[in-house]
Subunit: 251 residues, 2 copies
């Protein structure tokens, strides 16, 4: 399996393409709904671009990396084999048994086209409809990263949900902090040491055991005063709900 | 100001005590409501312990580091001078103008007695009721850390609220992820690379601009499927609320 085609041109497709190229694979084609996007990625990885699903040529492996919401309808339109998708939350059943070899190739990472990444430390979760194809995916995975796990669709879905909390929601907490500080002319960089320490603590400890803050100390007056000081009803609601959740889990 | 007394023996008092000692200060006394706690900290920092507020001897500076909820009533009982508290959310007015020199010495950090910390990178926010005392606090601060900021009570409160989101709530997101993974026999360590990348991204970018995940992509089917797959009503509510907040802020 040396020639790989990417169906999709977003954050995941970009980082997978770069990483596959680096590991010695050829990217045969890049498909995207918008030709300009397919071209933009194809140029980066010495490949060819198309926006026409009927012009997709044969390849050893097809990797579909598109938004989850568009995945199943796209699969229905494909007449190819040796196909994987990269979604955490969509199961093997999305392929509807219409292919001989199909599977999942899910990199557990937060991808952004514009931000460099060390793919070699990114865990890759694979699943396939037969042992032969599973072994093929395992081999490719091992050429890309040090951590390849075989995982069922159900486990992968739970892992994705956990990652939404640990990564997407965490980033949103940073965004909220940033907006509060910006309104008060305080530099967000002041938070860098406390954010770094927060992450450092959980390398050696269970997160629950190193929880700190007003909710952990059950300081109800401070919690109420913070809620009163937020000038946005949605933020008040988020502050209240997460504080209650911390108090509930601690006691 | 060479002899400093700590009123409190918790996470903040412990790290401040260790850091002051390292910077060449003497810790004259440690007070705590429970003598055993005062003794435990006093032993670590070559000091003396008491649980009796009336036995507090004179010192150059008194640092009150207790839970926010107990701070104001404690201040009422003290008959000393040159006094600071370490709270982010309680203002200078807590001292009720009853002392000659009073102020705030707020380290912006997540402290845990059991976890080592590099205090030298911790921002310290100071405030005082007069210039003389402010300069004294500035001098001590500079001996402890590279970042000392003079900040008003109002700004400090907003900074503390931002830190609750960026640190305390973030840690709770990690705790939720940990509990989801534990229920599904998946190792939390798998999330380490994605958590590290999440933090690395915001070193160079505004958090809002590097948001990823189902809510950022407005994938309503996936969001609903994740909510259906959570087995706890409070978690469903948190997932829904934060996802709505991400979608709202994006557009």
């Amino acid at each position: 399996m040396k020639n790989i085609t990417l169906i999709g041109s977003g954050n995941v497709a970009t980082h997978l393409g770069l990483s596959l190229l680096k590991a010695g694979y050829s990217i045969k084609q890049v498909w995207s709904k918008k030709l300009i996007n397919a071209k933009r990625l194809a140029e980066k990885i010495n490949s060819n671009a198309t926006d026409n699903l009927e012009r997709i040529k044969n390849a050893d492996l097809f990797i579909i990396a598109v938004k989850d919401d568009g995945l199943e309808s796209l699969i229905q339109q494909l007449d190819i084999d040796n196909i994987v998708h990269t979604s955490g939350s969509i199961g093997l059943e999305a392929f509807n048994k219409k292919f001989k070899n199909y599977g999942v190739f899910y990199p557990l990472q937060t991808f952004n086209k514009k931000i460099n990444l060390n793919f070699k430390t990114t865990p890759l979760c694979i699943e396939a409809n037969n042992t032969f194809f599973k072994n093929e995916l395992m081999q490719i995975g091992k050429n890309l990263t040090g951590t390849v796990k075989v995982m069922s669709s159900e486990q992968r879905k739970q892992l994705h949900i956990a990652a939404v909390f640990a990564c997407n929601f965490t980033n949103h907490m940073f965004a909220i902090a940033d907006s509060i500080l910006a309104q008060n002319n305080i530099d967000f960089k002041l938070l860098t040491p406390i954010i770094n320490q927060t992450v450092k603590k959980i390398n050696q400890n269970k997160p629950k055991e190193v929880q700190t803050g007003p909710a952990e100390r059950k300081e109800k007056n401070i919690i109420q005063s913070h809620i009163n000081n937020l000038n946005d009803d949605k933020l008040k609601e988020i502050y209240k709900l997460i504080s209650e959740s911390i108090m509930r889990r601690n006691g």
